[in-house]
């Protein structure tokens, strides 16, 4: 049963209601742990499906996992600001839905709300709110990286209206654990590239869908390649218009960039952590290194302030390119943090006991490029900022208006 809140609730009302609901419904031991800042215990609760599954179901029923969604589809119909207050109230106890649900809650939900049929909303939104389905994104392809619309995965309609999909996707987080996927596939190659794409909702258990983990330079596999071989989809797997998938995808991408999760804060960050390490091992005494660390502190605080500003001003029409500003700066900070982690602890970053845990500076150094490439490269963010925030003209794309099938192939 949804928490008792009018869609017009103020931030303070929303915060209070959500806070009260959590205090009332969260298992007593977990609440106690959270109030005592015993975070490992709270994390153990969230990580234990036996306990977290019913909790997330209750949270979803209360509307607290999807506060901006319409009331009839598992939401509370709140404004962005009041919804933020709800999220913040839940997040303070660290018992909200995890990053593994980001695609589902932040991307799939709003996209289905915007473009779905009544049946699709009915089928997917409730379970999404309750945490019953995990979702993944099937957009990127090896041959079409930054140029998303250059995708080659084909979906061909059969006489009976069903579809057969063939192709390969890449950079799908959690694809191997997902129940459903958001798929873009080419349905008419005779049209220019943006106009022959259709958006599908794919049951990941369909035969022919195979997710394989993709190992990164860090040695970890956070992403997957997904192979689609003669995958048969029902006619009602289409979301939005036939060949109108690009517009649907824009909804998803805008959500991805604007996806703030709770009220941002100005305070302790990665630079502070690095400064503490440098203080601990004496490298803070090196003035050039110290200034670089402090410069990172300044940029990190300025980013936090920018995020807070975007959050505070969102009610008054945030620019769509703002998310790109933050992503770009965040990528630069991640890169600098990785570089600095190795300079603060240079030998630790170079060798460590074989078989032992990989030290943090090594992980950080090797992950430094992740954010500047994944989820849209920094070059793409700069294009977005230049074109949307500053109104600069687009780069010429000689193939933009040509039929997709006539483009030269990349190697």
């Amino acid at each position: 049963m949804p928490v008792d809140l009018s869609p017009d609730a103020t931030e303070a009302e929303a915060y209070a209601a959500a806070d009260a609901w959590v205090r009332e419904h969260l298992p007593a031991d977990v609440l106690k742990a959270a109030l005592g800042a015993e975070w490992p215990e709270v994390a153990a609760f969230v990580a234990d499906p036996e306990r977290s599954t019913p909790w997330f179901a209750a949270l979803g029923d209360a509307g607290l996992s999807s506060p901006t969604w319409p009331c009839e589809h598992g939401g509370l119909g709140l404004s962005a600001a009041s919804a933020g207050a709800v999220t913040e109230a839940v997040t303070q106890y660290r018992v909200g839905r995890t990053m593994a649900d980001f695609v589902g809650l932040a991307l799939a939900g709003p996209t289905i709300i915007a473009h779905g049929t009544a049946a699709q909303k009915e089928r997917f939104l409730g379970p999404l709110a309750r945490g019953e389905h995990r979702w993944c994104q099937l957009f990127s392809e090896p041959g079409a990286g930054s140029d998303l619309a250059g995708l080659s995965t084909r979906a061909e309609q059969q006489a009976d209206g069903t579809w057969v999909v063939n192709g390969q996707k890449v950079w799908s987080s959690f694809a191997h654990l997902s129940d459903f996927g958001l798929l873009m596939a080419r349905t008419d190659p005779s049209l220019p590239k943006h106009r022959g794409i259709t958006y599908f909702l794919v049951d990941m258990t369909t035969p022919g869908v195979e997710a394989r983990p993709l190992r990164q330079m860090t040695g970890h596999a956070e992403f997957n390649e997904v192979f689609l071989t003669e995958v048969e989809l029902p006619a009602d797997a289409v979301l939005g218009e036939l060949n109108g998938g690009w517009a649907v995808a824009i909804t998803t991408l805008m959500q991805e960039r604007n996806g703030l999760t709770g009220r941002p804060a100005v305070g302790d960050g990665k630079a502070d952590e690095l400064l503490r390490r440098a203080h601990g091992n004496g490298s803070l005494e090196e003035p050039v290194l110290r200034d670089r660390l402090l410069r990172m502190l300044v940029e990190e605080r300025a980013l936090q302030m920018t995020t807070l500003r975007a959050y505070a001003e969102a009610g008054r029409g945030a620019a769509g390119a703002e998310g790109s500003v933050r992503k770009l700066v965040n990528a630069q900070l991640e890169e600098e943090a990785g570089a600095l982690a190795a300079e603060v602890d240079p030998l630790t970053a170079l060798s460590w006991p074989a078989g032992g845990a990989v030290p943090a500076p090594v992980e950080e150094f090797l992950a430094m490029k992740t954010t500047s490439i994944a989820g849209g490269t920094s070059e793409i963010q700069r294009n977005i900022i230049a074109e949307r925030l500053l109104g600069l003209p687009k780069d010429p794309d000689p193939e933009k208006d040509k039929p997709f099938s006539e483009r030269p192939r990349t190697s």
Binding site: R290, R382, L392
Partner: protein, 399 residues
């Protein structure tokens, strides 16, 4: 997908303590009023014309600012006859003025002087009276701190005060005194046996005020040669002059940061306009990534600068967060404006480094702003105490 750095609160907190960036209609009205005044009476061409003519400033405009908008009194508390505006109000005015590179006496008289005088006025009727005259637009004030290569370093001041209380005399030299040749009043930081203290110079008797050529053509400055000249000490017997100077620099840093935001954003705006219309190689130059990406980076810096300047402006002076905000703003906004001014010239190509084009005026202003209250590296060094409070328990002490 990685989360944004440090972007979630770790402690439960009510939603109602969110005050940063809480813009009001009054803020919007003030901004509009200043923008309109600048557009009609002080566009950038006018700043250049005043500089070219060798005039100090536009005296008519000065009167209008006082009579119609009360801008000189914005930073003066109501108890001293001012309008008691918040730091956010003053910052908004500075940002708008920065957009057109407005110069003249406003910064020293209406920003620096009140920042120094307000704490002094607690125990000193003379300082309080001076604040009243500033607020009324009835006087102009210069503030003299810089010496040698140190722009704002209270601890390194060598100008010396001698003589008995009530009849002190000053000896030394002050550099880069904005409006120093013409201001009606001059406030001087000088050392005494009990540390640095503030003095009001007797401008009628003795000080040689040498008018200087300045890099920033819109901000006249002077060197003061003080050769045993009379002055009156301001503040109470226990006033810590260095602490007053430091607090004033922090307050002024936030205002100057807003000015830097105005300048940087205007460079971005003008450059975006230029590269959209200018064609080379059969395309608008703004369609080349070499141009777009450089300008995108500049826009990002300007946005970050705006966040930093106003976050600080929304803090309560005297708090740790205020100091942190002022120092972050000084470091970020100084470098952001300088870099953006350079990029603006680069992206304008040949026309951008001609005298007739306005771009270099922004670079000149950016250089002054980055120096006036202490440089970015010094600001960062002070931030260490905020990140590692255990390291330096005396974090808020005067540097």
């Amino acid at each position: 997908m990685t989360g944004e750095t440090g972007a979630t609160a770790s402690e439960p907190a009510g939603a109602d303590d969110l005050v940063e960036f809480a813009w009001t209609d009054e803020h919007a009205d003030l901004r509009q009023a200043v923008r309109r005044l600048m557009a009609t009476r002080a566009p950038l061409d006018r700043a250049r014309a005043v500089a070219d003519s060798g005039e100090r400033h536009d005296a008519d405009l000065w009167r209008t600012m006082a009579e119609q908008l009360g801008l000189q009194g914005l930073a003066v508390p109501e108890e001293h006859g001012g309008f008691g505006g918040t730091l956010v109000d003053v910052a908004l005015v500075a940002e708008e003025m920065g957009t057109v590179l407005h110069g003249g006496p406003f910064l020293p008289t209406a920003v620096l002087a009140p920042a120094v005088l307000v704490p002094l006025a607690e125990h000193d009727g003379e300082a309080a009276a001076l604040l009243g005259r500033i607020a009324a637009g009835a006087t102009t004030v210069a503030v003299a701190v810089a010496e040698g290569r140190h722009a704002w370093a209270p601890g390194l001041v060598t100008t010396r005060a001698t003589g008995a209380p009530g009849s002190e005399r000053l000896t030394g030299r002050k550099d880069l005194v904005l409006d120093g040749a013409d201001a009606d009043e001059v406030l001087v930081l000088a050392t005494t046996d009990s540390g640095p203290a503030w003095f009001r110079l007797d401008t009628t008797d003795g000080p040689r005020r040498e008018r200087c050529a300045t890099l920033d053509l819109t901000r006249p400055a002077a060197t003061l040669h003080l050769d045993d000249v009379p002055a009156r000490r301001l503040g109470g017997p226990d006033t810590d002059g260095a602490a007053v100077a430091d607090r004033a620099a922090l307050v002024a840093s936030v205002v100057l940061a807003a000015e830097q935001v105005g300048g940087a954003a205007e460079v971005v705006r003008r450059t975006a306009e230029y590269v959209t219309t200018r064609r080379q190689f059969g395309r608008p130059v703004g369609s080349f990534q070499g141009v777009k990406h450089r300008l995108a980076d500049a826009a990002v810096r300007a946005e970050m600068a705006r966040s930093a300047a106003y976050w600080a402006a929304f803090q309560r002076p005297g708090t740790d967060d205020f100091e942190l905000g002022a120092l972050v703003a000084r470091s970020h906004c100084s470098e952001a404006f300088l870099q953006t001014a350079k990029d603006g010239i680069q992206l304008h190509g040949g026309i951008g480094f001609t005298w007739e084009h306005d771009m270099h005026l922004f670079l000149r202003r950016a250089r002054l702003d980055a120096t006036l209250l202490g440089d970015a590296a010094a600001a960062r060094e002070r931030l260490l105490a905020h990140a590692l409070p255990d390291l330096a328990p005396s974090a808020t002490e005067v540097a």
